[in-house]
């Protein structure tokens, strides 16, 4: 083989390698640090211990993790339930105000979450629907910022439905309800699952919006970690970071076994 034909591949390999190093190395360092025996977060560790993991599973941190899990799962379910009819309307129908609705649904994707957070905080304050900060307002906020992901993936799967299958089912005697449950829903299942998953991850990892909407009684793990950081980077935080990394990862791996997520990550079509 001649040199010129090797070189581009070599460079590509180096680039990919560096990308992995910069993406994964900090994560690995964090995980290693969480097993440090010393009281300071240093690398390499000054011995091995599980004490920080015991610390991370203390009742206080546990409740924050459960709250986050509850918040993210509820957000995922609500986003799917609200996103399905929204995607249907936007993909299948042309009505006055459709453009505005698209803007409203996808808007939070374009706006800084910070702006959304401040806006929501003011709305809650004025209307008094929810206690200004707490689980209720967190949930509303997370649904607003995670909805675009659900609507987009569900729209993509609706657009990808094979032509005429609904007409075929209708000609065979299926009414609208039967067509929805027996034909449409099974065929957009991947999109629904992917949409729920993206909403879950987006909600689970959010810190910007949660900063504004969480209260003392209801603070997701990300906000708690941020608060704890003011007292320095204790190895407990390394363990907590590892936990908040592993949970979404496990969910993705579990879903990946049954659903082709790649279709929605790499080939998004415009709704």
């Amino acid at each position: 083989m001649s040199l010129p034909s090797i070189r581009p591949w070599t460079w590509l390999k180096i680039t990919v390698g560096l990308t992995y190093v910069f993406m994964l190395a900090p994560i690995l360092v964090t995980i290693v640090v969480s097993f440090n025996a010393g009281t300071r977060s240093v690398f390499p560790p000054e011995g091995w211990s599980l004490r920080w993991w015991y610390e991370a599973f203390s009742p206080e941190w546990q409740s924050a993790i459960y709250l986050t899990l509850g918040l993210s799962s509820t957000t995922a379910v609500l986003c799917t339930v609200v996103g399905l009819p929204l995607a249907f309307g936007l993909v299948r129908h042309r009505f006055p105000g459709r453009k505005l609705l698209i803007l409203l649904v996808l808007g939070p994707l374009l706006l800084p979450t910070l702006a959304t957070g401040i806006g929501l905080l003011q709305v809650f304050h004025w209307t008094g629907i929810f206690e200004t900060v707490g689980f209720g307002s967190l949930l509303v906020g997370h649904v607003v910022i995670s909805l675009p992901f659900a609507v987009r993936t569900i729209s993509v799967s609706l657009l990808g439905l094979p032509a005429n299958v609904e007409a075929a089912a209708a000609s065979l005697g299926a009414n609208r309800i039967q067509i929805f449950w027996q034909i449409i829903l099974p065929l957009i299942r991947n999109g629904l699952v992917a949409g729920a998953l993206f909403a879950f991850i987006h909600s689970f990892t959010d810190v910007n919006l949660s900063l504004f909407l969480s209260g003392p009684a209801a603070a997701p793990i990300t906000v708690k970690i941020l608060g704890f950081l003011e007292f320095g980077f204790a190895p407990t935080l390394a363990a907590l970071s590892a936990i908040s990394l592993i949970i979404p990862l496990l969910v993705v791996l579990a879903v990946q076994r049954t659903t082709r997520l790649g279709d929605f990550v790499y080939a998004p079509k415009q709704p």
């Binding site: 005429n164 209708a170 000609s171 065979l172 009414n175």
Partner: protein
């Protein structure tokens, strides 16, 4: 049994011989444009009728209106005397086979075929038995557990047919179901579709833009153009006595030679026409005409002949012509002519050889008057 209920006249009878399907004055407009207009079509019991026309002629719209996917803006549709307009597709009991087959990708072949029966809440054992029977009928026995994606194009086609037929539809609609198959398979499936249709005696409308499909498969053909019916008739009628220039040129190829009507002639009678070079011939008229009107004398290329010298007048239409070029097609030769009376003509010579004529040669173009038809311009 089939022949007795067949009609080639297209009359919309009543009583025992009532047609299976009647379209009366059906129209559909999109804005100012009429996709179809003033459709009057009747399909007899057990009959196989083809809607034939160029793309955009409204044939698929007509099919969608019958299936109930599109609501017409005008007219009535009767299926065995029962009005269909306003009835949703799932209550019509009409089987539809789509161009892309529209099989359900998340179901096995057997589940696809059984879908219509499940939607009707028929008991499971009966569904299984009928699906099995239908798969045998379309020669897919034993493939019920396969996924549609694992089948060839021809096999998918059979699944789509089985799925539409297993519900014992009162009517069958086929939307260009053969156009996605390669040539050899398409010709095979033509026979297969006709065999099934005859065997089950289900009245059928078949949509195609392929004239050879239409001629080979149909009891009757409805030629459509620009949203309207141009002619309804048996394949032989359509080919041999086209109603107008559009039908004449859309089906097969046709020589059209301008002439003037010499004296008034009634529809179906024989009348004298005169060509631009002064020669006259007496030919059948499909529609009546007044004297002095311009008409086109239509004659098929395979019904004409070319000779080196003009014969003595014996009633044969003979026109002076010059050979422009020859096209060798293996089994036949096309001789392209320029007529002294104006216009061009093509003659198909089977068994002739290219060497018989050469470009620039002066010849006579011959056609027997009973093979000619006068078409209004």
């Amino acid at each position: 049994m089939l022949q007795s209920s067949l009609s080639v006249t297209g009359a919309t009878g009543t009583g025992a011989d009532a047609p299976a399907l009647v379209l009366k004055g059906v129209g559909k407009s999109y804005g100012p444009h009429w996709a179809v207009r003033d459709l009057d079509i009747a399909v007899e019991q057990g009959e196989f009728v083809t809607l034939l026309g160029p793309s955009g002629c409204g044939k698929t719209t007509t099919l969608s209106i019958i299936a109930g996917f599109v609501e017409p803006d005008a007219g009535t549709i009767l299926l065995r005397g029962k009005p269909l307009v306003g009835l949703p597709p799932f209550k019509r009991g009409i089987g539809v086979v789509f161009q892309d087959y529209a099989l359900f990708p998340h179901m096995s072949v057997a589940q696809n075929v059984g879908y219509g029966l499940r939607a009707r809440r028929i008991p499971r054992p009966e569904i299984d038995a009928r699906v099995e029977q239908m798969l045998e009928l379309v020669r897919l026995g034993g493939l019920g557990s396969r996924s549609p994606q694992a089948l060839s194009g021809g096999q998918r086609q059979r699944v789509a047919l089985a799925r539409a037929l297993v519900i014992n539809p009162e009517f069958l609609l086929l939307d260009e179901p053969l156009s996605n198959l390669d040539l050899k398979l398409r010709e095979e499936m033509r026979l297969e579709v006709v065999r099934l249709q005859r065997q089950l005696s289900v009245p059928t409308i078949f949509v195609t833009h392929d004239q050879s499909e239409a001629l080979a498969m149909s009891n009757r053909i409805v030629v459509m153009n620009d949203g309207r019916v141009e002619q309804i008739g048996s394949p032989k009628d359509i080919y041999e006595t086209p109603a107008n220039r559009f039908v004449a040129q859309f089906i097969g190829s046709m020589n059209l030679i301008s002439a003037t009507v010499v004296e008034a002639v009634a529809a179906g009678a024989t009348g004298l026409v005169q060509f631009a070079d002064g020669s006259r011939v007496s030919i059948p008229f499909r529609t009546g005409s007044q004297a002095g009107r311009q008409v086109s004398v239509a004659v098929r290329p395979e019904r004409c002949a070319v000779v080196r010298q003009t014969p003595k007048s014996d009633g044969t239409a003979a026109l002076a012509a010059t050979v422009t070029h020859l096209v060798y097609l293996g089994s036949k030769v096309e001789i392209h002519l320029e007529l002294a009376a104006g216009g061009v003509a093509v003659v198909e010579s089977v068994g002739g050889t290219v060497d018989d004529f050469e470009a620039g040669q002066r010849v006579a173009f011959l056609a027997s008057p009973q093979d000619c038809t006068a078409l209004p311009d």
